[in-house]
Amino acid sequence: MAYEGMIAERISINGDKHEPISAYVARPLGSGPFPGMVLLHHAPGWDEWYREATRKFAHHGYATISHNLYHRAGDGNPDDVAAKVRAEGGVPDAQVIGDTEGAVQWLKAQPWLNGKVGVFGTCSGGRQTFLYVCHTNSINAACELWGGRVVMSKEELNPKQPVAPIEYTQKLSCPLLGLFGNEDRAPTPEQVDQHEAELKKYGKQYEFHRYDGAGHGFFYYDRPPYRIEQALDGWKKVFAFLHKHLAA
């Protein structure tokens, strides 16, 4: 039986404008080379579910980093920090892009990386995943899970989120996997239709999977929206997609 081990730890990386932000890293033990993953956490914050997801990706062979997009709101319980960020109207898109680029560059500087990096995010992190991969050429695959407000009305735009991510579709730089629940209200199935129409319009490589009987957040086993069949199938889709695009 092959030896199996993992290291998981909290570190500090350079985020947007080289400002230090916290991050959680998990990777298989050994010299690799491993494909890399960057996880963008959801609106409820840099929480236990994202710690577990980071280790789950490492369990599947990916060197994975989950950076704290709410670092500047202060240290504390994730729900308190997330509530503070919510009251502040979220975090600026430009800062998220800078922080995520910092996480990608940290991964790319590691000797055990195979040179390929994917991005994964749920909820607001799904939106930010799509936004980020429309602003970089250094990513090999992206998983957007129920990204709310990729499509935004003019009334929803604000100084922190000045442009709806869908407007950047032409600049999408890598294959995209999208998972959505047909009972979701953010994004609605109609918004997912719009999102898909833009991807088709620009000839982008993508695969969308839409689940009946599921709404928002159907992977979260500790919350009421959890849907076991859809979640298990969704995880299979995620790892099949990543294996196809990130294997050395």
Binding site: G76, N77, D80, V81, A82, A83, K84, S124, R149, G217
Partner: protein, 92 residues
């Protein structure tokens, strides 16, 4: 934050958080994912003082129905309090 439904007003008073009583500066009302209530979305009310850090927060997560009942109760209590204050001013 997926709904973007957030209302913020100033607050004068005190709240009791995990570290005891503290001065409040704001009340934040949102309809969004709760952290603890077993609901997809909830009316979340946070009484906070951001200057004291994220932990200076008194939080509740309510169903929409119970939030409506709270809103009505608050309106009734405030109306009664205003009558009380008005009577007190007249008596003075």
């Amino acid at each position: 934050m997926c709904t973007s439904i957030v209302e913020i007003v100033g607050a004068s008073g005190t709240g009791k958080g995990s570290d005891g009583w503290f001065e409040l500066t704001h009340s934040v009302v949102s309809y969004d994912h709760p952290h603890h209530a077993l609901l997809e979305e909830a009316i979340n009310i946070d009484f906070v003082n951001p200057a004291l850090g994220p932990g200076a927060r008194v939080a509740v997560e309510l169903t929409l129905e119970s939030a409506k009942e709270l809103s009505s109760a608050l309106a009734r209590a405030i109306a009664a309090a205003e009558i009380e204050e008005s009577n007190r001013r007249r008596a003075a």
